[in-house]
């Protein structure tokens, strides 16, 4: 059994461990969960639930924050 799966994070394909949670994904990317908003397959995942959502093959994750704009 293959222990990594492919997901898409901000449009880039990434291999992650099977069953990894969003919280663990953020940690591996060195991102503070308080500083980003997470969308999982087009659904917003609130901060308290980040540890509950596990990655499945083909999942699409968007990690966004505020940048300069008018």
């Amino acid at each position: 059994m293959n222990d990594t799966i492919d997901i898409t994070v901000n449009g880039q394909r990434r291999a992650v461990s099977r069953g990894v949670t969003l919280l663990e994904l953020l940690a591996s990317l060195e991102l503070d969960p308080r500083a980003v908003v997470v969308e999982h397959n087009r659904t917003i995942v609130r901060r308290p639930a980040l540890g509950d959502v596990r990655m499945a093959p083909g999942d699409a994750i968007e990690l966004v924050h505020f940048v300069g704009g008018g």
Partner: protein, 265 residues
Amino acid sequence: MATAVDTLRDTAFTIGGRTFHSRLMVGTGKYRDNDTMVHAIEASGAEIVTVAVRRVDLDRTRETGVLYHLDPKRYFLLANTAGCATAEDAVRYARLAREAGFNEFVKLEVIGDQETLLPDVQGLLLAAQILVKDGFRVLAYSNEDLVTALRLEDAGCAAVMPLASPIGSGLGLLNPYSVRTIKRRLHVPVVVDAGVGTASDACLTMEQGVDGILMNTALAAAHDPVAMAHAMRLAVEAGRTAYLAGRMPRREVAVPSSPLEGMLD
């Protein structure tokens, strides 16, 4: 509320139930560096500061997060849906912005044309209706069309934001008549957004009686953004005060200011 002039009182500047002192709102885009941005925003006296929602740069080639530089306790962050071309996208961006946890306000943009960045009126109205129903306080970036502004108000928008001229153009207030008409007919605040290029544009815009102005490029692209921010602060105050003071009527003929009596033979 009190003004700098003892005899003059102004109404409070309230949007979506929140009252602000400064009628000038500023953006955070396109500054050459963050230090200049921070100092320009300080010099502008603005309390409402707009930000955009974008992907985190996973490669960390640059630290793009604006909150590293702006204290969200000091400024009221107004997220925009800039770059969105459909109602669906704009709603998605607005919900992501709200999730960041600062407030339920959104500056709604639905762009219909990439050259002029003019709004897609149909998409704008649809997104406004969805977001209002979802509990957002919507500030809708609009063209300077009265009927669109009325429909946005009917949809429950907290403010309507007609443009002075296209985003980033710096062409100034192209249609004072339309903006004045919108202000006269709407009950919600009217904040002119986009197109102001320099202080006289801001002053002229405020003289139309609108409630406020939002600008970004006029500051960010000035040779000295901090000095321009100061000038804009004065111009917005000057224009507002002149509006409240009530200008003299225009005349097509000269009327002497000095007495005609007492002239020498």
